[in-house]
Symmetry: C3
Subunit: 465 residues, 3 copies
């Protein structure tokens, strides 16, 4: 297990306050309102197969670091999108990880993984070439025990609610299985319409057609398309969804007159130019905000990643292979059309994330500290880390306070890292609050309330869970 | 009163140094070279009416936070620009503040207000719904005492000089009253010509006509317009002004040939396109620098805010209602035309501010660490806060040193927050210096001198007070 | 000498760890893989003339600060490019420095110089007007002793390898003298082709012609030009070069088809427009990467400075006079063409630097944490400082780890500052690591290994020394 003072400031008074605050939140249930766990795990409740398949192969945080130091992705078992050969000997993959373990020094990946090794498997040694085989065997055998099945782990992790993310045209079969299973774990879905609102998305036209097929709406017309989206949102709400999620290259929004929007839809359906695609995505964010005001779904905007920056990795391995790179992201002008229309609605909640930390203090905190509809998402992706969390609080609190933030998101597909990620967030927030207390800008009783807000209550209320 | 160690680092050696440094500066008089106090307060010396009108209604730091959490601005007594109804029961407004007090945790607003409650009214309790009425009555009754009138407070605050800000076409009647009153408090004005140099300013053409009327110059000609501005600058100097101030959307400057500038003036007077407006503002900054070289007024540039980002708040409540949002701001190319012309003049002082902290280390410190005419203004607006001040020093000192900065500006219209704002700045600077001392990069005797420079001497010399 | 705890955190546990880590690296040899020392110093081994010529006249960190506060560059002995008069009384220059010494409070320049005064000359007093003459005499007399000649200092500094930087058309005569001298100090060159790949470089066409003369290639043709560059690279490798260096206004790269590149070369040779110049520089970075893959030279890209921002200083004093200002720099799109072509080559090493710290966490760490060919250069120029180094580690480690960074570069022409600069870097890294250890995210035995990597091993391996 991590050291009791893990991530706490070294100074004795601050550490003592941090410990006390953490004591209040360490045991709170986990609210995971945004992530990418596979609902099939919980639907099927089959054992995880082996350490490499659980911890290495699907985790782009892990393999991108190894790849950056010259380890081929094939050697790590990453599936080839082009049908090429890849390593299938999971023990060999695990050994590669072990041999390269020092690369993860100073990274959150190492913290998450060691927390998992320790809390799940009782492993307190540091992984290395010498103990790789023994630890592989230990983990592999534990994974076959009933206590290590997905549902058992979900309960052991003390997860009160976990949201997965599905495409708008997903049938939600696993969520249906889950719902019908009688299992009481709260695994809900999130409505992610990128594939049907982003004309640059692979297979866009086909996706729109599928959307029509699923809903019985005529998605070749603007009106039918909007009705189909509204119908799918209702369908997702039927499987517990309380939120939508939008992963766009930029935060651009638009608010076109209805006929201009309809004409634009016609153009992008016919095969859009890049500028039309950007405008259509922008328009659709405002349409989604309008729908959210109707149906109550919380809206999440995740902008600013240049996806698949490395074309040869993309050609060989496909999407989400560690080659997404953040870019400078504007919010002030980008969000204005949506905010002009709906920013003053306090019944609407739009949660904005960023990969451009310069926007925290310059744009996002001032925006969230004014508009009733706007909230700041927690530090995301590359910034889901102790330093990233510290900067987030230091750069946003003075302008936006705590109440305009929404607690923590783990945003992960690495199920076993969830307890650790939340633990890191709780500790990082307690460390920040401990500084405020020892520097006499916040009283400790207030800090205690805030710590609970950040660890539990804000996520629950912001996501309407 | 704030804790004696308020804002000081918790580590014992650093805290001890910080205390000693602060001991040297805590009692120094306040130099407030840039702000927005109403000169009428000191001219009339009438009592402030009540707690809500003093602390809530005019303070956009306060009501923007409440608004962001769904409290209507009407309920906070913010006057409607469109004639609509707004709350007039000041006790009800105060109760709203009290009930929402936890929103201000971690914000400088809370620090400033509690400092004021404590030092002025002896209130050491935390404001809440339970004590709201009692504290309202206490403050309201004190405000009627002679010791709480503006001039008495000015003296109690130990203000050596306070600059207000007036538009170029202001008659300065309150400053005239003050000057003729025999009161010895030094309240001076600052020349702010935005309304007559920014073609996008509401009523620009009328303002130019008024400028002509006031000066007897023909402000329909470029030459007459410049002469009128020069005349108004002299008029402002007659009321103590030592500085001008320029609040532009960007830091753009231009240095056009005289005939091109004259032609541009003609176009903007006739009703300018946006590009011409930007170019004209840019040109006018360089004209103002030229005039400053003649008449010795220090020039302040406050760029980078997107004003009135929220059109519906603007329509209902008008300007300065908490909806100004910083934007990315360039200085390297923007200031070049002005600097090419006047940057090497050490008789000229141009003080540049920013709302884009990324420019501190990348652009502003390198520029100020080279050009004799350039100085860095203190952390401004959203960054007038403990964290903002710490970042400012950490990001500028290594390149620009201390002497290229100009001490602290409170830049406030909240009169009662002035002592607290200066106290926060002094403490934050002492905390920063204490780290340098304990990490052995600065000797304590030097830190003491620097602390006094930052708290008092630099503002006085940079603003020629 | 600096205090034993110089730059270490004040908190006792952290300080103890920092001391122990520093104890492991303080005595390691210096690897200086990138800098601007004059090879003639070591070739001739003549005494340095006097304190002002050694410490003030050539150091733009020093004179830019004095200039920013109104000291004319002429008074500091900076040579006039236009033939005008400049101060030649070196004692007078030294007195000016002494009188203005307080300006350097809080700057790394002061740390470097005091370290040099102390370690080289035994001076433990603070420079001021009162001791200026005495210290001048002391330093001046020491400089005449054999122990203060360049080669003796090189050995005393414990430099294992020092790279200088020469233009592609430099004859490397001093390196030849050195090679033939029998002296064992390892002073190598670096291939810097800016003058022959940047069409905006003064004398570009003449430089290309000189390149042809030196190599016997027809540099009026694209093919001959490339062959000439390849030949010069081989020539530089003959004098120990293991790296190239590229100082471009932006990080733009391009990957044109061969015939388009040839046509572009024809245009820029005939006198290019700005857009062509930018495209040509961009194309040449990719050509250089291609050549590096052939000949093994490590490639360094130093982008983002607006050179000679001050035209009147440039006209009077020429280049490199403290008026270079960083600008916002994009890497994500800029490097893509080069990375698309060669980013997956683990035999290639491209080291990227920045003057735009916002790119550390947003762009550079994610890029270096993915592409096998990419490494992050250390904090550069304005950021070669304690705070700059701290931010670099805090902003890059969590995403890129340590192994994707390359240790420290002093990048200096101030020979006597080299030991201090490396000492500052080692201390700053140990301070950072000490925090990780006391916050329990890194074990101390690991931190020890990392400290040695950062101080010595990474520079040696990344630069193939």
């Amino acid at each position: 297990m991590p050291h009791p003072d893990f991530l706490f400031p070294a100074q004795a008074d601050m550490r003592a306050v941090a410990r006390r605050l953490y004591g209040e939140v360490a045991g709170l249930p986990i609210i995971s309102p945004h992530g990418h766990c596979d609902p099939a795990w919980f639907a099927r409740d089959a054992p995880f197969s082996d350490p490499a398949t659980l911890f290495v192969v699907p985790d782009h945080y892990v393999f991108r670091m190894l790849y950056s130091q010259g380890v081929p992705l094939e050697a790590l078992g990453v599936p080839r999108a082009d049908g090429g050969k890849t390593e299938t000997d999971t023990r060999a993959i695990w050994r590669l990880l072990a041999r390269n373990w020092p690369l993860f020094r100073g990274t959150p990946t190492r913290l998450w993984m060691e927390h998992g090794f320790s809390s799940l498997f009782g492993i307190e040694e540091r992984l290395d070439a010498g103990n790789a085989d023994r630890l592989y065997d230990l983990i592999a055998s534990k994974l076959q025990e009933p206590a290590y099945r997905p549902r058992a782990l979900f309960e052991r992790f003390n997860i009160e609610a976990l949201a997965t993310t599905q495409a708008a045209i997903d049938t939600l079969e696993h969520h249906r299985t889950l719902r019908d299973s009688g299992w009481t774990g709260r695994v809900i879905t999130t409505f992610r319409p990128d594939a049907v609102v982003d004309p640059a998305f692979p297979g866009f036209a086909g996706n729109i057609a599928e959307l029509g097929r699923l809903t019985g709406e005529d998605t070749t017309t603007w009106r039918g398309y909007l009705a189909a989206l509204m119908q799918r949102r209702a369908y997702f709400r039927g499987f517990g969804a309380t939120a939508t999620d939008h992963g766009h290259p930029t935060a651009a929004t638009a608010d076109l007159p209805a006929d201009a929007a309809a004409a634009l839809f016609g153009r992008v359906l016919a095969g859009a130019a890049a500028a039309d695609a950007e405008l259509f995505r922008a328009q659709m964010l405002t349409e989604m905000a309008r729908m959210s005001l109707e149906d109550g779904l919380v809206m999440q905007i995740h902008p600013g990643a240049v996806r698949d920056h490395n074309p040869s990795v993309f050609a060989r391995f496909g999407r989400d292979k560690g080659a997404d790179i953040p870019a400078r992201t504007d919010y002030v002008q980008a969000l204005k059309p949506l905010l002009d229309r709906f920013g003053n609605e306090s019944r609407l909640t739009v949660i904005v994330f960023t990969l451009d930390e310069t926007s925290y203090s310059r744009e996002l905190a001032p925006l969230a500290g004014h508009y009733p509809a706007l909230r700041l998402g927690p530090p995301w992706w590359f910034f889901d880390s102790p330093e990233g969390m510290r900067r987030f609080r230091e750069l946003t609190t003075e302008t936006a306070g705590f109440a305009n933030t929404v607690g923590f998101n783990d945003d992960t597909r690495a199920f076993c890292s969830i307890p650790s990620r939340h633990d890191v967030a709780r500790r990082a927030d307690c460390a920040y609050l401990a500084r405020l207390v020892t520097e006499h800008t916040l009283d400790e009783d207030e800090a205690r309330e805030v710590a609970i807000d950040l660890a539990y209550r804000l996520a629950k209320s912001a996501y309407r869970l």
